[in-house]
């Protein structure tokens, strides 16, 4: 397929399919995330990138033989590796015997959350999640460093968004619908944010949805309008604040005599402490993810103004 547009759309469908596969596999949280990321954000980013760089691929392939050899060695090795693996779905595989049982049996008492994934994510392996937030933050900073329009070109910025120009001039219905939709999306984001303890969802998914609302607004009403509503520096700092909030919770627990990210010491009652801690760090995650997504999108589409 040479048309990158089609390729990206296919990728979106692939993302959606794998998300539904995750549901089948009982991984609802992951499915939620994959749907918002694989089918949503990443498709959107790719589309923007494609508009910026040109739609058609050259079609030349490089070293296909070499690639095939590498690919087949890798694949062969993997197949070889799978031969001794426990069968798919079998309950007596080592992973179900060691470590995981404690999460399933004790997490309710230890963290007070019914969603095991959330309690593992935010508490048992909270440091991984902190790392994850930092990864997103890093990506945001990286994109800023790469795509910020700054003193590189001294031209005064033209506030015209040609990609979406036609759209927002003509599609009145769309605009009205969007206006109605956005509050609901934001509300939904908040729901996902705070409901993550009980059902699927959490800071990351909420952040993505929140960002989606803003991106939708920008797409329909134009970047310049969106910019007027939303301050970019604010988002930059918000992303930092999210990380700091997360880290801050850790530091506070440190100061309270516990280890880093030990929520037990945040309140008198360990479970309450866990609850508070998880709530706060999920909020931190939400802040960073949403603002980084917005930053990334704005920088990508803002690039269009300077060919």
């Amino acid at each position: 397929m040479r048309d990158l547009f089609a390729v990206v759309m296919m990728l979106g469908i692939f993302g959606l399919l794998s998300a539904s596969f995750f549901v089948v596999m009982d991984a609802v949280d992951v499915a939620f995330t994959e749907a918002s990321v694989g089918a949503g954000i990443s498709t959107l980013l790719m589309l923007t990138a494609v508009t910026l760089t040109g739609r058609l691929e050259d079609g030349e392939r490089h070293r296909p033989m070499w690639a095939l050899v590498v690919v087949f060695i890798t694949g062969g090795l993997l197949i070889y590796g799978t031969l001794d693996m426990p069968y798919f779905g079998s309950a007596d595989a080592p992973i179900h015997q060691h470590v995981a049982p404690r999460y399933i049996h004790d997490s309710m008492q230890e963290t007070g959350l019914p969603n095991i994934v959330t309690s593992v994510l935010a508490s048992y392996r909270g440091f991984d999640t902190f790392g994850e937030v930092v990864v997103i933050f890093t990506a945001g900073m990286g994109v800023l460093a790469l795509l910020t329009m700054g003193s590189r070109t001294g031209i005064h910025r033209v506030m015209a968004d040609s990609i979406f120009y036609l759209m927002h001039e003509q599609h009145l219905i769309l605009r009205i619908l969007t206006k109605i939709l956005i509050p609901f999306i934001l509300l939904f984001a908040l729901y996902v944010q705070f409901h993550g303890d009980f059902g699927p969802g959490g800071g990351f998914q909420a952040g993505v949805i929140f960002a989606a609302a803003i991106i939708l607004y920008a797409m329909v009403f134009g970047l310049s309008t969106a910019r007027r509503v939303i301050n970019r520096t604010f988002f930059k700092l918000l992303s930092a604040i999210g990380v700091l909030l997360y880290g801050g919770v850790g530091v506070v627990s440190l100061l309270n005599g516990g280890n880093f990210l030990d929520y037990n010491v945040l309140a008198d009652d360990p479970v309450a402490g866990q609850h508070l801690g998880i709530l706060l760090i999920e909020f931190g995650v939400g802040c960073t993810v949403a603002s980084v997504m917005v930053i990334i999108f704005f920088n990508f589409s803002g690039r269009r103004e300077f060919p």
Partner: protein, 492 residues
């Protein structure tokens, strides 16, 4: 507070990064970064002292005991690598303010420092953690920051280099992820210590073999082991000078650390060296790397490229030492980690000073610099001598142990080849020396001043360290020896 030190080592740079974003002024951001990195260095020095005095430190993140939570497990090996990473980063940072002033647009200075801190935090996180998956997360932090930092280079080729690095790095990281998954599949745990206890039971399965293969290949991509080194030369050559200095000195070192950690601690010596034909493969690749990369280095026109290829060759030495599979061999590798970090940071920083003055690192532009920038060029010569392995420099110490290890093991052809390899280093270093000292400055280049103090001080700190640790090896040898012995299960 002392028991919280392991956490501090990571969260100091990690939380400084977002804080740094609030600082507008370049100078302030720089000072802030230097302080953060310096404090991290102090923390790692204290950690090393503690570990040497009282043994392994275990720190449970979030208060959850392993293997349920993530733990930090600091033994002699990672305390040693921590010190390398944090100290080199701090010294190199001293030059950052002067250097990026010319190389990076004003409005990105703060971002540069944020990314720098993130990269540092990522590397430290990789080194300090005792959890296999946590390694992956922090590896990605440091890598993403590194890609962005490289892309900040002035030349447009920096972008292309960063992109290639991104692709290779991501493939490497994903391979590691597959490997971790396979290991997890067989043992049900992600904790390294736990893994090392549970893996031997299942060591004979094909799955564990595949896990090992994927992890090793993935890590080797990050290590830039020949022939997986293709991303490295351009990335080093076009990145901003400070970034090159710090990446060359730390990031591949951390990857080598991972290789050692996975091979010795997690999979265990008996698995790595008997079940898998690792030794043979590594020794061949290491030697090939030394010769191929050194030879390529000789023909480079750009000095940054030259030293980048030299880095690939030096990695070959580390791999050879490691593959000998004895305490002395591992010790040689560990020593070379430290020593090579000192040499390459000094060299690349000195090159940065040259770039700062003449805006180019082409060999032809080096003509006559011996007279025009005497201190900078003297530093390059000193670093070069260290690279060759002349006595009284650190390079000699690591070469000594490497050859010793090979001979003790009866691998005399390896010893000979290692020594011959350093002769190639002589050739490429001397090309620079001759250009700088025996030629008149090229026509059309105006007067060139000596580099500013912002460069000279850190460069000479590093050069002095190169010589000091070449003469007084107590610290490096003791720690490296203790670390190597502990990995081999010998009580020191």
């Amino acid at each position: 507070m002392l028991i919280q030190l392991p956490a501090l080592a990571v969260i100091l740079p990690l939380l400084s990064a977002p804080l740094c974003l609030f600082l507008r002024r370049s100078l302030l951001a720089w000072l802030f970064t230097v302080i953060a990195s310096g404090l991290t260095m102090l923390v790692s020095i204290t950690l090393l002292q503690q570990v040497m005095a009282s043994g392994t430190i275990v720190y449970e993140m979030g208060g959850w005991s392993a293997p349920w939570g993530i733990e930090y497990r600091i033994d002699k090996l990672n305390a040693y690598v921590l010190l390398i990473v944090s100290s080199i980063s701090t010294v190199v940072l001293l030059a950052a303010h002067t250097s990026i002033e010319k190389e990076i647009p004003q409005d990105r200075h703060t971002l540069f420092y944020v990314l720098y801190l993130l990269s540092l935090a990522g590397l430290i996180g990789v080194v300090i953690t005792g959890d296999a998956f946590n390694v992956f997360v922090f590896l990605e932090i440091s890598s993403l920051a590194a890609y962005s930092l490289i892309a900040l280079g002035e030349d447009r080729r920096a972008l292309w280099a960063a992109y290639q690095y991104l692709i290779m790095g991501t493939i490497g990281a994903t391979f590691i992820l597959i490997g971790i998954g396979l290991m997890y599949q067989m043992t049900g745990t992600l904790n390294m210590d736990d893994l090392s206890r549970r893996l031997p039971e299942v060591a004979q399965t094909r799955t564990v073999f595949a896990a090992y293969a994927f992890i090793i290949v993935g890590v080797c991509l990050k290590v830039a082991l020949f022939p997986l080194h293709r991303w490295l030369p351009n990335a080093y050559a076009y990145a901003p000078s400070v970034v090159t200095a710090v990446l060359a000195a730390t990031s591949t070192k951390v990857a080598v650390y991972l290789l050692i950690r996975f091979t010795f601690s997690i999979f265990g010596i008996s698995f790595s060296f008997t079940t898998v034909p690792l030794q043979t493969i590594f020794v061949i690749l290491g030697l090939l790397g030394i010769f191929a990369a050194s030879t390529t280095a000789i023909f480079q026109k750009n000095v940054k490229h030259l030293f980048a290829y030299s880095s690939v060759a030096q990695i070959g030495y580390m791999i050879v030492g490691f593959s000998i599979g004895t305490t002395t061999g591992l010790m040689a590798t560990l020593l070379h980690l430290f020593n090579h970090a000192l040499m390459k940071s000094a060299l690349f920083l000195a090159l940065g000073a040259v770039m700062y003055r003449i805006g180019s690192a082409q060999l032809s532009q080096f003509q006559g610099l011996g007279r025009q920038m005497p201190f900078t060029m003297a530093a390059i010569v000193a670093g070069g001598l260290s690279l060759i392995g002349v006595p009284l420099t650190v390079g000699f110490v690591s070469k000594w142990y490497l050859v010793l290890a090979a001979l003790e093991n009866g691998w005399w052809p390896v010893a000979v080849l290692v020594l011959l390899g350093s002769l190639l280093a002589l050739v490429y270093v001397w090309r620079i020396v001759e250009a700088a000292y025996f030629n008149e400055p090229p026509a059309g280049r105006g007067a060139v001043e000596e580099a500013p103090l912002g460069f000279l001080i850190p460069v000479w700190v590093l050069v002095t360290a190169n010589i000091y640790f070449g003469m007084d090896t107590r610290l490096s040898v003791q720690v490296a020896q203790a670390a190597a012995q502990s990995l081999f299960g010998v009580s020191p």
